[in-house]
């Protein structure tokens, strides 16, 4: 019997119910210490644990708050592929720029996408050279631009996981309802489950459990993760974005391992319903369908891992409307984003991290978004910075 069994699972759940309710307590370092002690006591002596946080938002929280300092050395957090701009392959960026540089096109995009490098530069570069590329807050803002510019064709660069896919789908439905014939989306939406499966099937990495994504799960719910516990015998706990949420999720995974269970659990019940958002799923499947395969930056081609616009909405599909090169572009040799996205390498272990590749001049996508593992390390890595220095000395 391990010491861990003395920890009552109810006691941990208690933190979610009462202690995590009030704003001030989220920042309470004392609470973090309590959870830290629980995590420590739940770890089997001598056993190494590797947990993947799938979502880039979690990576951000982990480094911003130095959560690794609250974990014993035997617990390693591995950063997953859940950063939408990080997984866009260079060839798709080139295709988007190819469309954007047409004189009759206005490309609209989220700000995060502007610096993502393709084989021949980024949106920023293309804009500097005269392409009409506009940042929008919402795909719906593109519709107003389309209305105001009837002689132009407005293309929205649709990216993201299931969190943003319903927004793009709803925007297409709205464009159709408005009879807008000069609006389309360049659909690059990806789905999280095949990426997790690809990682589980990767021989490079042995994981003990997953911290499940928060916002993606508000759409897909928790059921789609059940294959992870059933087929791969790993626990997954869907987690919120507060530092204490993440620590608590790690404790919940460790409780499962200690009790010999592997299940899907939901720590983020405050926001994530077990069955997700059925309306959002319905809207996605009305407008989009799975592609047979799609290339992920660093992970390669993954079957049924991305969405395209259905033929019924071909008038709103930039891929049907415009010619584009569609050429696969290999990542720069120096860039090791692929290994970082699979969690095989820590960002600071990449040869160009912090030297040739910085948030200002990113070589790899992981350095672009604030949710990318490299940018998170670069901006907030505290003790890891020291390790970078050590690594570059040798």
């Amino acid at each position: 019997m391990t010491y861990a069994s003395k920890i009552d699972r109810e006691q941990i759940t208690h933190y979610k119910g009462s202690l995590m309710r009030f704003v001030d307590e989220f920042r309470d370092a004392e609470m973090a210490q309590v959870l830290s002690a629980q995590i420590m006591s739940l770890c089997e002596p001598g056993r190494q644990y590797k947990f993947m946080e799938v979502c880039g938002g979690h990576t951000h929280t982990i480094y911003k708050h130095g959560l690794e300092d609250y974990l014993p050395n035997t617990v390693t957090l591995v950063h997953g592929p859940g950063c939408p701009v990080c997984v866009i392959p260079m060839g798709r960026v080139d295709d988007a720029i190819f469309i954007a540089t047409r004189p009759d096109v206005i490309m609209t995009t989220f700000g995060d996408m502007m610096r993502v490098p393709g084989g021949r530069g980024s949106f920023f570069d293309a804009k500097a050279q005269g392409a009409d590329i506009r940042m929008v807050y919402s795909p719906l803002d593109s519709l107003r631009i389309a209305k105001d510019n009837p002689d132009k064709r407005v293309v929205f660069m649709a990216i993201g996981f299931e969190t943003t896919a319903p927004s793009s789908a709803m925007t297409v439905l709205r464009a159709k309802a408005l009879g807008l014939d000069n609006f389309s989306i360049f659909c690059n939406h990806v789905t999280i489950i095949p990426a997790i499966k690809a990682i589980l099937d990767s021989p490079d990495l042995r994981l003990d459990g997953f911290i499940g994504p928060g916002h993606v799960s508000t759409v897909i719910g928790c059921r789609p993760y059940e294959f992870i516990s059933r087929q791969y015998a790993k626990p997954l706990v869907t987690a919120g974005f507060e530092p204490l949420d993440i620590l608590q999720s790690i404790a919940m995974i460790l409780v499962q391992l200690d009790q010999g269970r592997c299940e899907v659990e939901n720590q983020y019940t405050r926001v994530v319903p077990w069955n997700g958002n059925p309306r959002a799923l319905e809207v996605i499947s009305e407008v989009m369908e799975l592609r047979p395969y799609f290339e992920w930056r660093g992970l390669g081609f993954i079957s049924h891992s991305a969405l395209r616009v259905r033929d019924a909405y071909a008038d709103f599909d930039a891929e049907q409307i415009f010619e584009m090169p569609g050429v696969r572009v290999a990542d720069p040799k120096a860039c090791q984003c692929g290994e970082v996205l699979k969690g095989v390498l820590k960002p600071w272990e990449c040869k160009v991290f912090g030297t040739a590749c910085t948030p200002e001049t990113p070589i790899g996508t992981c350095m672009v978004s604030s949710e990318g593992a490299c940018a998170a390390y670069y901006n907030f890595g505290r003790f890891t910075r020291e390790r970078v220095k050590e690594a570059t000395r040798t």
């Binding site: 989220f26 701009v85 919402s138 719906l140 803002d141 958002n277 309306r279 809207v283 949710e371």
Partner: protein, 90 residues
């Protein structure tokens, strides 16, 4: 882009476009609430907004906690709010 920002519903607009007027940290904008039609939102309700779409209904404590955390994020939060200010969903 991936940030979910809490907003409080000021008014549900019955304009056939699934829009509601919301207040996000003092910034008042229209967002789409069509993905939450099952929640039957009304004035005073809190929602988590992603790229102009309310994706989940939350309670006030969660809204405050999330806003607090987002404000602590610095640049990412500032960028998101700047983008929101530019938004003119209709």
């Amino acid at each position: 882009m991936c940030l979910g920002i809490p907003g409080q519903v000021l008014e549900v607009l019955n304009d056939g476009a699934d829009l509601a007027k919301v207040d996000v940290s003092g910034v008042r904008r229209k967002v789409n609430i069509g993905l939450l039609e099952h929640e039957q939102l009304g004035a005073g309700d809190w929602v988590l907004i992603h790229v102009g779409f309310a994706l989940s209904k939350i309670d006030e404590n969660e809204a405050e906690a999330t806003l607090d955390m987002l404000k602590g994020m610095g640049q990412a939060y500032t960028d998101e709010m700047d983008a929101l200010r530019e938004s003119m969903i209709e």
